[in-house]
Structure formats: C-alpha cells, structure tokens
Amino acid sequence: MTAQVITLSSGKGGVGKTTAVANIAVALATEGVKVVCIDGDIGLRNLDVVLGLENRIVYDIVDVIEGRCKLRQAMIRDKHLPELHLIPAAQTRDKTAVSPSDMVRICNELRPDHDFILIDSPAGIERGFRNAIAPADRVFVVTNPEVSAVRDADRVIGILEAEEKRGPALIINRVNPILVKQNDMLSAEDVLDLLGIPVIGIVPEDQTVIVSSNHGTPVALDPRSRAGQAFRNIAKRLRGQEVPFMGMEKQGGLWDRLQKMTGRR
C-alpha cells in the first residue's frame, strides 16, 4: 500500500475546501479505505470541528515536526470510522513553524500504511499553500461559480503549472441549479471553459452542509443529502469508478463534455 497524496486548494477563502476534505475523507473511510486528513491551516485550524474531533486533540502537526511527539500520537482516530484519521493543525503557531520538506517527510512516513492522504490547504498562495502542495501527487482546486473564486482558482492553477504539478482537477462547489437555469450563475460548463482543467466533482448548494457542520458530522454520512451524494461520487471517482455527474444528464452537451474532460486527466 502506498498512499496517494491529494491537496485541496483554492486561492480564495470560504469556498468550501475544509468541508470538501472532510466529506471526501469520510466518504472514502465508509468504503473501508484508509485515509488520513492533514489540516494545513496552521493557526486557523478548522478541519477538527468540521469532522467533530475537536475534543480529542492532544498533539498537533507542529508537535510532530518539533519532536514533542511521535507521528502516531498526533493522529486522531474517528469515533465511528476506524479507517479515518486526522492530523490537526497547531492553533497557537503560524505557518512558518512548518516547511515544505516537513510536509514531504510526514507524508512519506504515512504513505505505506494508508490509501489516501488528504491535505486541507489554507487560503492564499503563500507559505501555507506552498507547504500544502509540496507533497501532493495531485491537487484539487476548489472553486465556486462566482467571479472572484474562479479568478483566484485560475491563479492557483497557473502556479501549479509553473511548479509542474501534474493532473490538477476542479471541484465546483455550491452550484445553485435554479440560478444556473435562469442564467444568473456561471454554470459548471462555464467554469470548465474558463479554467480549462478536468472536473472531479460538482457539488450543489445544500443547506444540509451547514446543519451537518453544526453537528460535526459531515454530509457525506447523510444518505439523503444532495451535497453528500456529490462528495460520495468524488470519493468513488478517486477510486477509479466512473460515476455520472448528478442532475447534469438532461442538459445536453455538458454531460459528454464533462466525461471527456475527466477522461483527460
């Protein structure tokens, strides 16, 4: 077993990176896949609360880097999903406490015992982002169908190209089908057209995401949630299954186009 390292990044904050990491991780773990999530947002940790693991943190990633604990001791196991672990960010430090080579070293230590390592990148394109993409085999760029989020996603994709990071893919989050239908929102196809990289997931806007993060139980665990289904589909695609994009079948060429784009990675 050697894990694939996937970093979720976005440039702009608040587009749903942490939610996406938590949900993809949970969806993978419910299928029995061994997953570790790493919160890369040093000083602004959040992945712990979204996963509902905030009360169980003893050590964090900076404790590992600075030798105060073993890597195993900083890995928090999920109560319900034994295959899911979280390595939390430090809350009282900043991103200079971590270097890109620290991240590479930690991931290399985790690789043999896991299937996937998901890294939640901080917003921005500075040190924290550089740390988060350093060990990545693939980077998923999370964006919303909204002008500023798409522009920032394009900057991130440009940096990934310059760094020669292979196979970036898009997660288009918070698509509102009603607004798209009345042409008051960029469609998934518009975003795809503008950014020119394959899509791995299209997630509809869904109120259950907020409710579930209030509880600390990701929507991927809710079988009725549309967003949860979209995240479960991303997990399936990651495992090599072909899954149609939800609710896109009736919209003519988009379906074929997306298939073609995802096939290109």
Binding site: R151, G158, L186
Partner: protein
C-alpha cells in the same frame, strides 16, 4: 444569450464575459492599453510592406483551454485593385 438558450441576457453571461477578459490579463500580464499599443505597432510594420483593409482588421487574444494566442486577421488589398483606384 445564455448557455441554456433562453434568450435572456442575465448576469451569468456577464460574469463569464468579464472573467474571460480578466483571465487573459492575469495570464498574459498584458493590460488592454498595452494590447492596443501592440496592435498599432504590428499594423505599422505590416503597412510598410503591404496595403491592407484597415477597417476590417481584427487582432485579439483568444483562449483555448489553458493557452492564449494572439490572433490577427488582416485582409490584404490586392495589387490589381490598388492600380484600378
């Protein structure tokens, strides 16, 4: 007109058009002023060698996926027509 073909010009189309221009600028580091200077200089050089229909000239930056290209469409005047004038 929107992608869904409803015939209404709503904000989604506007967002896409604005983003297309912004992304060209971000990716090429070329402002619209710089682009217009570039166009003028290209045409000056061409004018030294051949006659062209200056009203029909089209020079623009187009994007295809992740790459940009400068596309120039410059209809030339034929020599025979020039003599006839």
């Amino acid at each position: 007109m929107g992608w869904f073909g409803f015939g209404h010009r709503r904000s989604g189309s506007r967002a896409k058009e604005r983003l297309q221009l912004v992304l060209i600028h971000d990716r090429t580091d070329l402002t619209s002023e710089e682009l217009s200077v570039l166009k003028d200089e290209i045409l000056q050089v061409i004018a030294r060698h051949v006659d062209f229909e200056s009203d029909a000239v089209q020079i623009s930056v187009e994007h295809d996926g992740r790459s940009q290209r400068l596309v120039a469409d410059i209809p030339l005047r034929s020599v025979t027509r020039r003599r006839a004038e």
